[in-house]
C-alpha cells in the first residue's frame, strides 16, 4: 500500500474526509518553510501539496502569485524545495507529499533529474498544472519509472470521454477543479458543485477524488466533502501566511485555520 492508499484507508476507518493543503514552499521565508509545512501536518493536513513558485503562474489567482513572488525573492528554487521536502519527510514518514508545479520549472531542471530527486527526497506525487493529456507523455513515463504518482487534473469543462482518458492508469487521487477560473478563495461554493463532483466520482471509480479551488472556510470544506474523498485548501491558507505581520504569526494563523478545517471534516 502506498502512502496515498494508506491515508485514504485511514480516513475511511475514521469515517472522515481527507484534508489536502497547498502551501507555497518558501513561506514565510526560506528558513522557516520546513517549520510551516510541519506545522500544517501537525494541525491535521493529511496530504501536503508543495507549491513550487513560478514567475508566470497563469492558473493561479493573486494570492498564490504574490506568495510565489515572495518566495522567489527569498531565493527559493527546486533544489532547495527538494531539500526542505526531504527534511519534512524525515519527520513525517506517512504524510503523502506532492510537488505542485508549473511545467517549465521541472522541464528546465531536467525531467529525469527531477523525478529522481523527488524519489530520493520522499515526494510521492507530482501535479504539473500546465501539462494536460495532450502533452503529458513526455513526462508521465519518467514519473512512472521513478514511482512518482502523476496526479491527474479534471475541470468542469472536461467531458466524460476525455476524463476517462485522463484517469486511465492513474493513482494517488484525482484533483478536481470545482470552478472555471483561477485559484483563489471564494465566499461560496458553485451551485453545480454536487453534480460535478458526483460525475467525477463516477468517472474516477476506485481512485479517490479531491475537490479544490476556492474553498475558504470549514463550512465550505465540509459541504464540498459531502461529494468528495478529500478537499484541497490553498489560497486561503497561503493568504494567512503572506498577510501576517511576521513569519511566526503567519505560521500560527495558517495552522489554526488548518485545525479548524480538519475539525470540520471530522464533525
Amino acid at each position: 500500500m502506498d502512502r496515498f492508499e494508506a491515508v485514504f484507508e485511514r480516513c475511511r476507518r475514521e469515517n472522515r474526509k481527507a484534508l489536502v493543503v497547498y502551501m507555497t514552499v518558501g513561506l514565510p521565508d526560506a528558513d522557516h518553510a520546513e517549520e510551516l509545512l510541519c506545522g500544517l501536518i501537525e494541525s491535521g493536513a493529511d496530504i501536503i501539496e508543495l507549491g513550487v513558485p513560478f514567475s508566470d503562474p497563469t492558473a493561479d489567482g493573486a494570492a498564490i502569485q504574490a506568495a510565489g513572488q515572495l518566495a522567489l525573492a527569498q531565493g527559493i528554487n527546486l533544489e532547495k524545495i527538494f531539500a526542505i521536502a526531504g527534511r519534512v519527510r524525515a519527520r513525517y514518514p506517512e504524510t503523502p507529499l506532492i510537488l505542485f508545479s508549473y511545467y517549465n520549472v521541472i522541464f528546465h531542471y531536467g525531467l529525469e533529474a527531477a523525478a529522481a530527486a523527488m524519489k530520493s527526497c520522499g515526494i510521492d506525487g507530482v501535479l504539473t498544472v500546465d501539462l494536460p493529456l495532450e502533452e503529458r507523455d513526455e513526462f508521465l513515463p519518467v514519473c512512472e519509472k521513478y514511482g512518482i504518482a502523476f496526479i491527474p487534473l479534471l475541470s468542469p469543462a472536461t467531458g466524460d470521454e476525455r476524463a476517462e482518458a485522463i484517469l486511465r492508469g492513474m493513482r494517488g487521487f484525482a484533483y478536481c477543479i470545482t470552478l472555471r477560473g483561477v485559484t483563489g478563495a471564494r465566499e461560496s461554493l458553485p451551485a453545480e458543485l454536487g453534480d460535478e463532483l458526483r460525475r467525477f466520482k463516477r468517472l474516477a471509480g476506485d481512485l479517490p477524488v479531491a475537490a479544490g479551488f476556492g474553498i475558504s472556510s470549514g463550512k465550505m470544506a465540509k459541504d464540498a466533502a459531502c461529494y468528495a474523498d478529500a478537499v484541497v485548501v490553498g489560497s486561503a491558507a497561503v493568504k494567512l501566511v503572506t498577510g501576517a505581520v511576521d513569519g511566526a504569526s503567519g505560521i500560527s494563523a495558517a495552522c489554526k485555520f488548518v485545525k479548524e478545517l480538519a475539525q470540520a471534516l471530522r464533525g
Partner: protein, 395 residues
C-alpha cells in the same frame, strides 16, 4: 481535420485542463471557417476595403543606392489601417469569434499596436473589448492607450510580475479561463497554445502571398533574401509563409538585441535563450537557471517578449531561416536612415529589420534583391526615440 500541434519539439498545448476544451472549440471553429467560402469572402472584402490591402511593395531606390548593394524592396504593412500588420490577424480572429457566437474580445498588448487593432475590430463588429496591458507599458505607450479608449475598449492595467507584455498575457489567460464561454482571446502573435501559432500564421500569410506575387510582377524573379523582425514573430511568419517552399530565398528573422545579448538586457529568445514552456507552448525562452522567466528588454516595446513563436524555433533549428540580432543603437540608426533616405518613418520594431538590411545589402551586387517587411509605422515611437537619444547622448 486533425492538425499537427507541434513544430518539431516546439509548440503544443501546455495549458491547464480548464482551457483545453476551449482550445478544441477554437480549432474546430477555425477549420469550419477555413472551409467556408463565405468566411473568406467577408475577410477578403474587409482586408481590401477596411484595412486597405493589398499593401504596396515599394522599391527603396535611394536607400539601395546609398548602401551600394542589393535592391531593397519594402513591404508596406505600415500603410494598413491602424498602422501595422496586427490588424490582419485581429480582423480574421474577430470574424471567427463572431461566428462562434462570442460577444467579448480580450487581448494582451505590449506596445499597444495589437491592442489598438483588437479595439478597432471590436468597434467594427460592436463587441465588448478588454485589453490587458502592463502598467509599465501603459506609462510608456500613452498615445496607444488613448486610442484604445477612444475606440471603446477597456484597458486593464496589469501590475503583477514585471508589469509588461508577458504579465499582460498571464492576466488575459486568467480572464479567459473563467470567461471562455462568451469570450474570445485574440492573441497578437504566432505564440500561445495550438491552434494560435497555426491560425495567426495563416491570417498573416497574406503578407508573404502578396509579396511573392508583387516581386515576381516587378522583377520577374524571387528575392535573394527576405528580412523581418521577430518578437513573437507574427509579421515574420506571415512574410516567410510566402517563401518557405522557395529554397533559393534566404529567410532572415531579426531579434531585438537591446543593449547587447552579452549584457543580458535583450529580447533575443532564439539567440540568447533556452528551450522551455511559457503561455501554452514550448519555445526558446529567456529564463534563469531555475527556470523562472525573465523580463525581456528592447527599445522597441513590440519586440519585448521573453518567448518566440514555436515555428520560428523550428526554422532556426533546421536552418531554413537564420535569426540575427540587432541592438537598440543599430535599430535607432536605421530608424533615422529610412526616415531621411525615403521619407518613411518606420516603427522601432521594423527598424530592426531595416538595420539588418543595411548590414546585408552591401554583400550583394546591384542585381540582388532583398525584401524587408516594414511591419509598422513609427508615429507611436517619437517619444521613445527622443528619450533613447537623450539617454544615449545622441542628437
Amino acid at each position: 481535420m486533425k492538425h499537427e500541434t507541434h513544430y518539431g519539439i516546439y509548440g503544443g498545448q501546455y495549458v491547464a485542463e480548464t482551457l483545453l476544451p476551449t482550445l478544441h472549440e477554437v480549432e474546430a471553429a477555425y477549420d469550419e471557417a477555413m472551409s467556408d467560402p463565405e468566411f473568406h469572402r467577408e475577410l477578403n472584402d474587409l482586408l481590401k476595403d477596411y484595412v486597405g490591402r493589398q499593401s504596396p511593395l515599394y522599391h527603396a531606390k535611394r536607400l539601395s543606392a546609398y548602401l551600394g548593394g542589393a535592391q531593397i524592396y519594402l513591404k508596406r504593412e505600415d500603410l494598413n489601417h491602424t498602422g501595422a500588420h496586427k490588424i490582419n490577424s485581429a480582423l480574421a480572429q474577430a470574424l471567427l469569434a463572431r461566428r462562434m457566437g462570442k460577444t467579448r474580445l480580450i487581448a494582451e498588448t505590449g506596445a499597444g499596436m495589437h491592442g489598438v487593432a483588437t479595439a478597432t475590430v471590436a468597434a467594427l463588429f460592436g463587441m465588448q473589448c478588454d485589453v490587458f496591458m502592463g502598467a509599465v507599458d501603459i506609462a510608456r505607450q500613452a498615445p496607444n492607450v488613448e486610442r484604445m479608449k477612444v475606440l471603446g475598449a477597456n484597458v486593464i492595467s496589469v501590475s503583477s510580475g514585471s508589469a509588461t507584455l508577458k504579465d499582460a498575457m498571464n492576466e488575459a489567460i486568467r480572464d479567459w479561463v473563467a470567461t471562455s464561454e462568451y469570450t474570445f482571446y485574440i492573441i497578437g502573435t504566432v505564440a500561445g497554445p495550438h491552434p494560435y501559432p497555426m491560425m495567426v500564421k495563416e491570417f498573416q500569410s497574406v503578407i508573404g502571398r502578396e509579396t511573392r506575387e508583387q516581386i515576381l510582377a516587378k522583377t520577374g524573379r524571387l528575392p535573394d533574401e527576405v528580412i523581418a523582425c521577430v518578437g513573437g514573430g507574427s509579421n515574420a511568419m506571415g512574410m516567410f509563409a510566402g517563401f518557405l517552399q522557395d529554397e533559393s530565398v534566404k529567410l532572415t528573422g531579426v531579434e531585438a538585441g537591446g543593449d547587447g545579448v552579452e549584457t543580458g538586457r535583450h529580447a533575443a529568445s532564439i539567440n540568447g535563450g533556452e528551450v522551455g514552456v511559457l503561455h501554452g507552448s514550448k519555445s526558446y525562452l529567456l529564463q534563469t537557471g531555475d527556470g523562472q522567466i525573465v523580463e525581456a528588454y528592447s527599445v522597441s516595446a513590440g519586440l519585448d517578449y521573453p518567448g518566440v513563436g514555436p515555428e520560428h524555433c523550428y526554422l532556426a533549428d533546421t536552418g531554413r531561416a537564420k535569426y540575427e540580432v540587432i541592438n537598440d543603437s543599430e535599430a535607432v540608426a536605421a530608424f533615422d536612415l529610412l526616415s531621411r533616405m525615403e521619407g518613411i518613418i518606420p516603427a522601432l520594431e521594423s527598424s530592426h529589420a531595416i538595420a539588418q538590411a543595411v548590414k546585408s545589402a552591401p554583400g550583394y551586387s546591384p542585381d540582388g534583391i532583398i525584401v524587408v517587411c516594414l511591419s509598422g509605422r513609427g508615429d507611436k515611437d517619437m517619444d521613445n526615440v527622443k528619450s533613447y537619444k537623450e539617454r544615449a547622448g545622441l542628437k
